[in-house]
């Protein structure tokens, strides 16, 4: 049976044009710049100094507190120093700059291609390895994985849900991992199950990736307690709360964490990284990134070292296409525009997407006609048109009353709005203001 969530959602053209491009390693060269803050929470504390020699996979910045993550060197070479580097949105943050010299890996990392099927590790061991490897959620939010897997007292995790929906148009890196690293992925799922003592795991995959469903269903026979669930293609199926609803039918209560429903959701790439961290001793220093766009010469799915300049990825995919209106990091629905192509990639970078000028153009804004298309499209059951107006007027108390905190910024409202109102722009602003997330610079 094909499952999906009921409330709201849209289905934009899928445009998964890079789906057949196999994963490719991109060799690092030149200088890589690795941010000390690539996750939600406190920035990691740098433990290397200028002139130090580092190896690939060596710890270079230590997690600063519980909600933080270790950062490892993605290359071997000499540390050039810690500088303020502009990220893809032009915001300057401290980063460790390393001159690449060869590619000598840390000795503890198992680089063999052999699949390690040993599942004898205890829950504590697995969690310790995940913490050590600096794993973060690679679906976009980059929340430290060890924090997510720490089940609060009094709660029990019944099921692990793996998000293979990849509901954003264009993106295909998760799809490729499911096809090419299927077995490793399933071992990762078993490890996650063991880490939180859950006895069931679901992998939710949209039916537009039938080959991935077939591949994993075939492999899952050898691994007990894993169910592959076919999902109807619909955005935002991959949203944590939507995915739980689709697969288990349970609703995550307002202001509560998914653990309330006994579920822990993890992304495909994160699960693969769990396998690598636990079985291969390999910290998180590379991730898969889709380079795609209708006018791009070659579609690519790269495995990229963290800190590689975005411009290098683009060169490797045949350079920037002529008719480019916008470059986006992430999918077209939730991604953010890239304003700085010299910026290094992050742990959580998922794609570089070239949008043509025609696609990028926003329609002319007109007045809200109260058609309530946005209300019908909102997967969280909010009233976007109202939140938009309240945010525009900076009415924070009213925004809180109308549950602005529940907005997942998926962009369905903006997608359906016939008046082309910048709904998400303002709701996001109102949300951060109402929740006091914006702190004025000093």
């Amino acid at each position: 049976m094909i499952k999906t969530f009921k409330r709201g959602g849209v289905h934009p053209p899928e445009n998964k044009i890079s789906r057949n491009a196999a994963l490719e390693q991109l060799v690092p060269e030149g200088v890589v710049k690795i941010f000390t803050s690539q996750h939600i929470g406190a920035p990691a504390e740098c433990i290397v100094a200028k002139g130090d020699k580092v190896k690939t996979g060596q710890l270079i910045a230590k997690a600063n507190g519980f909600v933080s993550a270790n950062v490892h060197s993605s290359v071997s070479g000499t540390v050039l120093g810690i500088e303020n580097v502009a990220d893809y949105q032009g915001i300057k943050k401290p980063a460790i700059c390393i001159q690449v010299e060869g590619d000598e890996w840390e000795g503890s990392i198992d680089r063999s291609a052999e699949i390690n099927r040993d599942l004898s590790k205890t829950s504590e061991d697995i969690l310790a390895k995940i913490t050590e490897a600096g794993l973060v959620g690679l679906g976009g939010a980059t929340f430290p994985t060890h924090v997510k897997l720490a089940v609060p007292k009094g709660k029990t995790a019944k099921a692990i849900i793996i998000n293979g929906a990849e509901c954003e148009p264009y993106l295909t890196s998760d799809h490729r991992v499911m096809l090419e690293k299927g077995e490793e992925l399933l071992i990762g799922v078993q490890l996650l199950k063991k880490a939180v003592n859950a006895d069931k795991a679901y992998i939710g995959i949209e039916t537009n990736k039938q080959d991935a469903i077939d591949n994993l269903t075939r492999l899952a026979v050898n691994y007990g307690g894993i169910e592959i669930v076919s999902l109807k293609p619909k955005y935002p199926q991959g949203g944590e709360k939507q995915l739980i609803k689709s697969i288990t039918g349970l609703e995550v209560p307002d202001r509560a964490l998914p653990i309330e429903t006994g579920c822990i959701v993890s992304n495909i790439c994160t699960t693969f990284a769990v396998y690598e961290a636990v079985q291969k001793n390999k910290p998180l220093f590379e991730n898969s990134i889709t380079i795609t766009g209708k006018n791009l010469k070659v579609q690519k799915n790269f495995i990229v070292r963290v800190g590689t300049p975005l411009s290098k990825l683009i060169d490797a995919a045949g350079g920037m296409p002529e008719n480019t209106g916008k470059i986006i990091s992430g999918g077209p629905m939730m991604g953010r525009a890239i304003s700085n192509l010299d910026a290094p990639t992050l742990k959580g970078s998922g794609s570089v997407l070239f949008i043509t000028e025609e696609e990028a153009k926003r329609g002319t804004k007109s007045n809200c006609i109260r058609c309530s298309k946005c209300v019908a499209a909102c997967p969280m059951g909010l009233q976007p048109f109202l939140l938009y107006r309240l945010a525009e007027l900076n009415m924070l108390e009213e925004l809180k009353e109308k549950a602005v905190h529940a907005c997942i910024e998926c962009g369905c409202c903006l997608y359906t709005c016939p008046a082309n109102l910048p709904l998400v722009d303002y709701i996001r602003l109102g949300k951060t203001r109402a929740m006091k997330l914006i702190v004025k610079p000093k």
Binding site: A86, I91, K92, S339, R362, E392, D425, L429, T432
Partner: protein, 293 residues
Amino acid sequence: MDSTILTTVIMLGVLAATLAAVLYIVAQKFKVVEDERIDGTESILPGANCGGCGYTGCRAFAEALVKADDIAAMFCPVGGNATMTNVAEYLGKKVETKESMIAVVRCAGSCENRPRVNEFDGATSCAVMAATYSGDTDCSYGCLGKGDCVSVCNFDAIYINSETMLPEVDEDKCTSCGACVKACPKLIIELRKKGPKSRRIYVSCVNKDKGAVARKACKTACIGCAACRKACAFESILIENFLAYIDPDKCRLCRKCVEVCPTESIIELNFPPRKPKVEVQEKQTVNSENATN
């Protein structure tokens, strides 16, 4: 026929009289006794309801003025000293005269000085833009030019210059209520002393990057070279994070810093043109004559 009209008149008359009596009794019983000085004070205040005093409006401010014993710390920036003196006289309290202030925009990154490197097509709002990314130029501190300051101004005192795409303050209209200061997400606008004859000097830049980075992004950026600090005889210039700030309390308006600034990021306003510069246009020469007279 007659009796019908008569009955109607009597009925309605009695009804009206009864209701009037009820209304009168209720009005007396639930009468709100309010200090009449509040009305009096409110009538003296400008009635702009801008919130510049820190209260929600003129009525709230009037109430606070009447309630407080010492009103020296309270000030209506719109009405200024004249209004506050009138209020003090009316209430029999004391106020201190304050120097009048004005909003200054500390960014000179016009399109010419600070080239645009990308285009923002989101909602026309500085707040949205600032929450999204660093801005459409290489300077991540400068004005975004979407006019949040213009839309909050109750007095039409700030507008975007269509050539430079930067906000400019109309000196006659600005009441220094501070609404624009609060609205600017980049903290570019500052309330400064208006100065004698409206003459004032300030650093028109808020970029805290290293000199080379700042200069690359904008021709008129403060590069923190400290030439102004050396030139200043009154120790009025502070340099922190590669950015100069002129302390308005110490500045004696000698204009030496303006002359030495290599990037012309220090701005002087309403001064007569300097004498030795002969090559200036005719019109300005006339001005300088007027000034010397």
